[in-house]
């Protein structure tokens, strides 16, 4: 089976590699040594009328099925033969919007382990996209001039990277907290300013901070109030006072027993079916 498949794989490059409509397939391998290759499915990025996308039309190449060992740098290098690459972004899922540019803190949002990803490659010129679509491959992720680390090499360097620098962390925390404190201070100042001042329609906003704080508007608080009400009502009620109440509670008891009996019967039925009553 495998042998047959291999033969076909060897023949494939000459024929046209099957690719889904609208996409071009580019074989990609880790290095020379591998025999079989994965296929990148690429097409020019385009969206239907009316949908918004932050990726520049025409200049963006949409790449599917990027193997886990392929980084943004290597993808950029591999496609640079088609034209100058402006940016490469790897994502887990196709996403129309560019991710926020400001880099997320590496201390608080560690990089996830990569799987197969999709990429948006933005070329400087639209010609890059068409050149990429015509690319024959196979692309090699790791070459002698640009080795990509994998396995033990990668894990050891990852480990070295993961040893944190406390100073950098401290600086980051301090800057964040300063900004946060400032934001809070502003909000508070604004709230204080607005307190007791009616808006255009004459409504006054009541907050928890004023001289007479009100109940917080939380679910828990409202549930507490309801519960208190219910208890108050229950205290007033008479139990088993009238004859009909008596009758009803008896009936209720009987109904409970019946329900229990039904449940038990079902349980027994199940156990019987499983042959659970055979003590040997």
């Amino acid at each position: 089976m495998v042998a047959r498949r291999r033969k076909r794989a060897a023949r494939d490059p000459e024929d046209c590699i099957p690719s889904p409509p609208g996409y071009a397939a580019i074989p990609i391998k880790f290095s020379e040594k591998q025999q079989a290759s994965h296929y990148l499915y690429v097409r020019a990025h385009g969206v239907r009328q009316g949908t918004k996308s932050t990726w520049p039309q025409k200049r963006t190449l949409f790449v599917l099925n990027v193997p886990p060992y392929c980084t943004e740098e290597s993808l950029s290098r591999l496609l640079s033969s088609c034209g100058l690459v402006q940016s490469v972004e790897l994502q887990e899922k196709p996403d129309l919007a560019e991710s926020p540019k400001e880099s997320r803190s590496k201390f608080f949002h560690p990089k996830p382990v990569p799987g197969f990803q999709v990429a948006y490659v933005v070329f400087q010129k639209p010609s890059g996209v068409s050149a990429a679509l015509a690319l024959k491959g196979p692309l090699l992720v790791s070459t002698e001039s640009h080795p990509v680390k994998s396995g033990i090499h990668k894990w050891i360097s990852d480990y070295a990277d993961s040893v944190p620098d406390p100073e950098a962390l401290r600086v980051e925390v301090d800057t964040f907290m300063e900004a946060y404190d400032q934001k809070i201070a502003e909000e508070e100042a604004k709230a204080k300013e607005e307190e007791g001042v009616p808006d255009e329609e004459g409504w006054v906003k009541v907050t928890r901070r004023g001289r007479r704080p009100v109940l917080p508007r939380t679910e828990a608080a409202s549930l507490r109030v309801l519960e208190r009400e219910r208890r108050k009502r229950a205290r007033k009620e008479l139990l088993n006072f009238y004859a009909w109440q008596h009758r009803e509670s008896k009936m209720e008891h009987l109904a409970q027993l019946r329900k229990k009996f039904e449940e038990d019967k079902q349980r027994i039925e199940l156990l019987r079916a499983q042959r659970k009553f055979r003590p040997y």
Binding site: H38, S150, E219, L257, Q274
Partner: protein, 1146 residues
């Protein structure tokens, strides 16, 4: 299409319809075929899942009929609950004989009767002249000594009567035995036949002749001999019908003397009927000292005379009362599950029936009682009455000629007299057997009274084989050794009484000896009863030594196991000599701290595991000293499984001590944290949250002393890094400690900001610990790693309100409500529930010292089966805890071995679909709450995970099993456990030694589609493997503390990193299995669904390729490239990737 069936086990698992998830589609056709048989057996027609009951209002509230009210009232009075009533009814239906079968048996009995009376007679000959016997049959009796007076002739029986439980209707399946008494004609017997086994010889010859003739009859499928209740002087003839009924019934023929033939006064327990002169060829000392009494011999003769009167008594008492019969049947099932009724000297069904008769006659049981009530009353009676001290009697007459109960107590250990007042029904029952019955009855009574659990299931449906019920067992293997022991113990009168059966003769003294020696360490000692053999009529009867081995079970008292000292009397006391005599050379004079000089025995034991095995030392010492049984004949099974949780090169300890050292270090650290000065907020709680801190880490951590030459130092961050040119360094897992800080208005109310403040605290903590205590620390945003005495702790600062902040959701109206989010649940689990669980299990370990061993063995086994990553640590710990908190019908295990066996039993039998596993930590859940949990479980079943474990802290969600296992993986574990349990039990019960105990720990590898073999060089825990490698790599550790105080490499385990990458990249296509304890192979199983060709979709191209198939473009996994990816991703770690491509097709 799709992968071919993946091995029998797993395809069984996949083909089975499951509850939680639709079974994986596309299982191969063969797979369905293989599992279809199983499904019809195991799966109920209605999907196997309980549904919440829905009754319409009209049905619930309709007027009750009289009948219904009666039924309900009866249930309330006569049974515990309606469920119990239904269960009992079902059970009785199952064990009772159907009318159809009864008719067939009756027909067979009539045939037997006709044939027996037609057996031809033979002329009279001397007893010793047995030449007349045909060649094909041997006398079913050991005729030692051979010479005996008397004549024998065969005449057809004067009367053939069916006796025993068959007529009463209390015989239960599966072994249906019909006892038939053949009354021998008076002409065969002579006066004084009661003497010197003459009666027994004639009885045996009678059977031999009968057997010869019946064996030629085509009616019978098998004709063979056996012993009546194991008594080897009294053979009986077993007849089974030919054809399909062969297994239906066994008819046992017992010859018996004509009524009133023996004079009862000759057979009292004080009388002698086996003369020493005849038996030993010499008179006892010649000087007129009296012959020793032969109580057992006399009883065996008496038993034959009383067969019919017993039947009459039973049928008059039980005949008309269905409840009593039901009760007897239930009691028989109860005994059977405890293996008490089988073998020589067992507590048989007949004894129980007589006991019921006794209780009826003393008005403790009324004839209108239900079966359940009879069961309860009898158990209550057994639990509270010690028949070894206060015997009972069915005899009502006050005839002065009858012997007193005291006489019987002298001759027998257990006394229960029949209505004649002369026959002890419990003559063969040993004191240990009775104590075991009593103990079981007491346990069962507490279980019935507790009301919490499903008593029926635990009491009557759960088998209690010896190996699973007792902490340690020991086999005495060549039984012939006991013969010498009998001589050593001077048991000649007993041998004479028992007709040379040295096993039964030695049993009593042996158990007494061991009970005395084990003293406070022992809760209960039980012995297996020699099985009753069956043999063909042309063979000689089996010898005593052929009955296999004698197995003793020890139930240990955990509090007694901690002491290594046996304290004797003071040296000048008269008891001291006795003590010295008992313990022999092990007894020494010792001076104690209070100044007393006493005799004492000290056993060598340094660690917990060795202390647990002190009983082994005691037993071998005492047996060698007092009974001449050498150590080679005592096969003690107490700790063969310990080897699997022993650390590297530590064969003396199973790691409890090492864990205690780590816990101690943690205690020190928590004190340091409490006393830390200069933190803006004070520490409000320090809680452990790591398996080590609850004693359940399989391999306890050892202090790390890194050799600096082995690592790359990173001086500016004072850390060590692994080096490329060296093997992977030792694996150090930091132990998580949660450190709560006090609440304060200063905490921000925003999740992101709380994170930053926590990070600031982590930094500050590291600084302060370094400044004030000189500890090596490393802070990150989420935790601070601290190196203390070679142990690494990972301190996580927690703020109590943080989960709440994460939960807050503001509705459009401005109402703030709390909704669980994944992040909040995760945080709550890590900072609240995990510490609570850890402290609860830590407490459990203090209560039950064996908990650690059991939990670790269980975890080890699950991981060794490559399933460890699907089950969280906590879930397995809780299952192990359940064995201690809910041990019924057993008692909490005191040794890892028995605990592990029960773990396997629990896993293989628990019905996860319809039941939550309730682990009542600290006994916080009341009975009512448990009932509520169960009903809530049924209603919410479909939203709950496959495996539901409920604790007092976690009543609804089962947090530890939320993320797995999947139904298939759980099923796989169940299948593996069900296979491992009988295998392991067989190994442990083998008297010649257990053999290779690691067999059940080796995983089956033939079920996987791809095997990825790893290079040992980069497996840091390589030495922990089940089959520990003879040589492995140096892991850069020093045996002495080195100068380096840099932070060692933490949590660096290449196989785990590799697996993480594999799962992320190929998790949609395959499952990966690995044993984290030094596994050298990763098993890969393709997911059947992912191999089905799919239409192209941009979101699911991962690792697939487009192919044109039948003119259509479809996507299939790019298997060849993926296989090469396996090697690429694990470069350096992966040795080979073995694809078993014959197992799948794309």
């Amino acid at each position: 299409m799709g992968p071919a069936p993946t091995g029998e086990q797993l395809c069984g698992a996949i083909g089975e319809p499951e509850v939680m998830e639709p079974a994986l589609e596309g299982t191969g056709k063969e797979g369905k075929k293989a599992s279809s048989r199983k499904r019809t057996l195991a799966e109920p027609p209605a999907k196997g899942l309980l549904q919440p009951v829905k009754l319409s209002r009209a049905e619930l509230y309709k007027e009750p009929t009289n009948e219904e009210l009666n039924h309900l009232r009866e249930t309330e009075i006569l049974f515990h609950s309606s469920l119990l009533r239904l269960q009992v009814e079902e059970l009785l239906k199952e064990v009772r004989l159907s009318e159809k079968k009864k008719d067939r048996i009756d027909a067979f009995l009539r045939e037997v009767n006709q044939r027996v009376v037609r057996v031809p007679s033979v002329p009279e000959t001397e007893l010793t002249d047995q030449a007349w016997l045909p060649a094909g049959v041997r006398v079913p009796l050991h005729q030692v000594p051979y010479a005996v007076k008397g004549c024998f002739r065969f005449l057809p029986p004067a009367q053939v009567t069916v006796v025993g439980s068959y007529l009463l209707g209390t015989c239960i399946r599966p072994d249906i035995n019909v006892d038939v008494a053949l009354t021998m004609p008076r002409e065969i017997l002579q006066d004084k036949d009661g003497l010197n086994q003459r009666y027994f010889r004639k009885r045996a010859l009678y059977l031999a002749h009968l057997a010869h003739h019946l064996a030629q009859d085509p009616l019978f499928g098998s004709v063979c001999f056996s012993y009546t209740n194991g008594c080897h002087l009294k053979p009986s003839l077993l007849l089974r019908p030919r054809g399909k009924d062969e297994r239906l019934v066994t008819v046992r023929l017992h010859p018996c003397p004509p009524p009133d033939f023996f004079r009862p006064c000759r057979l009292l327990p004080t009388k002698n009927n086996v003369r020493s002169a005849w038996y030993r060829g010499q008179s006892p000392a010649g000087d007129g000292s009296p012959e020793p009494p032969t109580p057992h011999y006399n009883t065996w003769v008496l038993q034959d005379t009383a067969l019919e009167s017993h039947l009459q008594l039973l049928s008059t008492m039980l005949g008309s009362a269905q409840g009593l019969k039901d009760g007897v049947a239930l009691l028989k099932v109860w005994l059977r599950q405890r293996e008490l009724d089988k073998g020589q000297g067992g507590f048989t069904g007949f004894l129980v029936s007589m006991l019921v008769v006794f209780l009826v006659s003393t008005h403790k049981i009324h004839t209108t009682m239900s079966g359940y009530q009879v069961l309860r009353s009898v158990l209550q009676f057994l639990a509270t009455t010690d028949l070894t001290v206060n015997g009972i009697s069915l005899c009502l007459s006050s005839d002065p000629s009858l012997p007193a109960l005291a006489d019987f107590h002298q001759a027998f250990s257990v006394v229960f007299l029949d209505s004649s007042g002369r026959l002890n029904l419990c003559a063969d029952v040993t004191a240990s057997t009775y104590h075991q019955v009593q103990y079981e009855a007491r346990l069962s009574m507490t279980l019935l009274d507790s009301r919490a659990d499903d008593g029926f299931q635990l009491l009557l449906m759960t088998p209690k084989p010896m190996i699973r019920a007792f902490d340690h067992v020991l086999h005495l293997h060549p039984l012939s050794r006991l013969q010498a022991a009998c001589h050593r113990l001077k048991l000649w009168p007993e041998l004479q009484d028992n007709g040379g059966d040295y096993v039964s003769a030695a049993l009593g003294p042996l158990t007494t000896l061991l009970e005395q020696g084990l003293g406070t360490r022992l809760k209960l000692l039980a012995h297996s009863r020699p099985p009753v053999p069956e043999w063909g009529i042309s063979q000689d009867p089996p010898k005593h030594k052929d009955s296999g081995s004698l197995t003793l079970g020890l139930l240990l008292r955990p509090e007694g196991l901690t002491s290594v000292l046996e304290l004797g009397p003071e040296a000048d006391q008269p008891e001291a000599a006795k003590f010295r005599q008992f313990w022999g050379f092990r007894s020494e004079l010792r001076r104690f701290q209070d100044g007393a000089i006493r005799e004492a025995v000290v056993w060598e034991a340094a660690s917990m595991s060795q202390k647990r095995l002190i009983p082994h030392q005691v037993v071998t010492h005492l047996l060698a000293l007092h009974t001449d049984i050498p150590e080679t004949c005592v096969h003690y099974v107490g700790g063969p499984l310990d080897a699997l949780i022993q650390g590297l090169k530590q064969t003396s300890s199973t790691g409890e001590e090492a864990l205690a050292v780590a816990v101690c270090c943690y205690d020190d650290l928590s004190r340091l944290l409490w006393g830390l000065e200069g933190l803006p907020l004070t520490v409000s709680a320090v809680q452990g949250a790591h398996p080590v801190l609850r004693y359940t880490e399989v391999f306890p951590p050892t202090p790390v002393r890194p050799a600096s030459s082995f690592y790359e130092p990173l001086q500016e961050r004072s850390s060590l890094l692994p080096r490329l040119d060296k093997p992977c360094p030792a694996y150090v897992e930091p132990m998580t400690v949660v450190c709560h800080l006090e609440g304060s208005g200063q905490w921000p109310q925003d999740a992101e900001a709380v994170q930053r403040v926590r990070a600031a605290f982590q930094l500050r903590l590291a600084e302060l610990l370094t400044q004030q205590h000189g500890l090596q620390c490393r802070a990150t945003a989420t935790h601070t790693d601290v190196l203390k005495d070679g142990f690494v702790f990972r301190i996580r600062v927690a703020y109590q309100r943080e989960p709440q902040i994460l939960k807050e959701v503001q509705s459009p109206e401005g109402m703030i409500s709390l909704r669980d989010t994944p992040a909040s649940l995760h945080l709550e689990r890590d900072t609240r529930q995990l510490p609570l669980l850890t402290s609860a299990l830590h407490g459990l370990q203090q209560q039950h010292p064996a908990f650690s061993g059991v939990a670790r063995l269980a975890k080890r086994w699950v991981r060794a089966q490559l399933l460890g990553e699907d089950f969280t640590d906590e879930s397995l710990d809780l299952v192990a805890a359940a064995l201690f908190l809910h041990p019924e019908p057993f008692t909490p295990p005191s040794s890892p071995q028995v605990g592990f066996l029960r773990f396997l039993y629990l896993v293989s039998t628990f019905d996860w679909k319809n039941n939550p596993l309730i682990v009542n930590l600290n006994n916080e859940l009341t009975v009512e709450e448990q009932v509520e949990i169960r009903s809530g479980f049924l209603a919410a079943r479909t939203q709950l995970p496959v495996m539901v474990i409920v604790t007092p802290q976690d009543r609804k969600h089962s947090v530890w099993t939320q993320d797995g296992p999947s139904a298939q993986i759980l099923q796989q574990l169940v299948v593996l456990a069900a296979e491992a349990l009988p295998m392991l039990e067989k190994q442990l019960m083998d008297p010649r030694g257990p053999g290779d105990i690691r067999t059940v720990f080796r995983p089956p590898l033939d079920i996987y589609d791809v095997l990825i073999r790893l290079s040992p060089r980069h497996i840091p825990r390589h030495r922990q493997a089940v089959d520990s490698p003879a040589a492995s790599f140096c892991r850069g550790l020093l045996s002495q503390p080195g100068p380096s105080s840099l932070m060692p490499v933490l949590g660096y385990d290449p196989p785990q990193l590799y697996l993480m990458q594999l799962r992320e990249a190929f998790g949609d296509l395959a499952l990966f299995f690995y044993d984290q304890h030094g596994g050298e192979v990763i098993g890969v199983l393709w997911k059947p669904t992912s191999f089905q060709p799919q239409p192209f979709k941009a979101s699911s191209t991962k690792g697939r390729m487009v192919m044109s198939r039948g003119g259509e473009l479809v996507m299939v996994p790019n298997v060849e490239a993926i296989l090469e990816d396996f090697a690429v991703l694990g470069e350096g770690l992966v040795q080979t990737v073995e694809a078993r491509s014959e197992r799948w097709t794309v």
